[in-house]
Symmetry: C2
Subunit: 211 residues, 2 copies
Amino acid sequence: MDVLVPYDTRDPKTRLGPFLTAAERRSLARAMLTDVLDSLSRVGVEPTVLATEAVEAGVPVRVDDRPLTPAVNAAIAGRDGPVAVVMADLGLATPAALERLLTAEGGVVLAPGLGGGTNALLARHPEFRVDYHGVSYRDHRAAARAVGAAVTTVDSFRLAVDVDDPADLAEVLVHGDGETATHLRTLGVEVTTDGGRVAVTRSAEKSGETG
Amino acid sequence: MDVLVPYDTRDPKTRLGPFLTAAERRSLARAMLTDVLDSLSRVGVEPTVLATEAVEAGVPVRVDDRPLTPAVNAAIAGRDGPVAVVMADLGLATPAALERLLTAEGGVVLAPGLGGGTNALLARHPEFRVDYHGVSYRDHRAAARAVGAAVTTVDSFRLAVDVDDPADLAEVLVHGDGETATHLRTLGVEVTTDGGRVAVTRSAEKSGETG
């Protein structure tokens, strides 16, 4: 199956800006890409990285410097078979969760992301196109219906967590065991709790802003 | 199977305080309980509500006004068979997600909640006890190991979302189709987006603070 992993190298993860330097955010994005590619490899998939510039990823890379939506739609246009799109920032994605996506029935299979997003999808209908702006989960449901494709969903916590905000780092630290979690620990990012929902803190001696 | 649904009637959902009045938070908590009980009913389970005071719930109610952890541990102590504990604030829980929990293998089955919590669990080991304080997902893994129980997890977005913060309301509005979502719409709570992760807003004419 064709699987695309969009990967934007340009100033990634800006919402982590108060917490990580630009260089640290780039290395975090790279660690997450590594984890996603590794999990896909473990379910027997060789994906194509859809990158904004040439990168070395150990798998084929398609370069398209347009924004996410037109770049993905250009990549999926004209394909015969099913195509999946898996975001590169799924720091908790496991082979089991990805296998559930790739083997789910349905003309369009959606894995919702926190906050109304679509973190992964599988399209078997040749006319389906993506639109990642706004509440993309709703828009993708509508887009599937518009082309007559049956929509199903994959109910996965591990596919629902994309890493955008500091709170998402806590999820990776609690539940992750890949490069991403290791990388965060190397940066001194730790889980903290005041008795309610956990958050993250950073040990001062490892802060990239001061070190 | 014995299934407990802890339900605290005392000033529920305080983190929604800036957004909903105390009466609205109570009615929201009640709508979520209704949805959870309805989903359990659809998988053939008659749960027991473990409430802090006598409530009418259409199913058996056990009253215990202690905090969550001792109340649950008192309720599960001395049982022969498996027992499940499902939080009452899972506004997105579906029969399918709950069935995955209740049929999963393992001595202790954990459904992680966002922020390190444990939103639902199934214990087949008679000595397992809960501790919901702090990063309970980690603590429950350790507690299961301590009694020699094999730990498995249920990877479910719908069981991972418990409704504590305004952002969680957006999840219910985007993905929910039960009483909880209906109730939020009645209160004028709506999804909004600025292009990034969605949030919620409230139409001024329906605000309980001013109406």
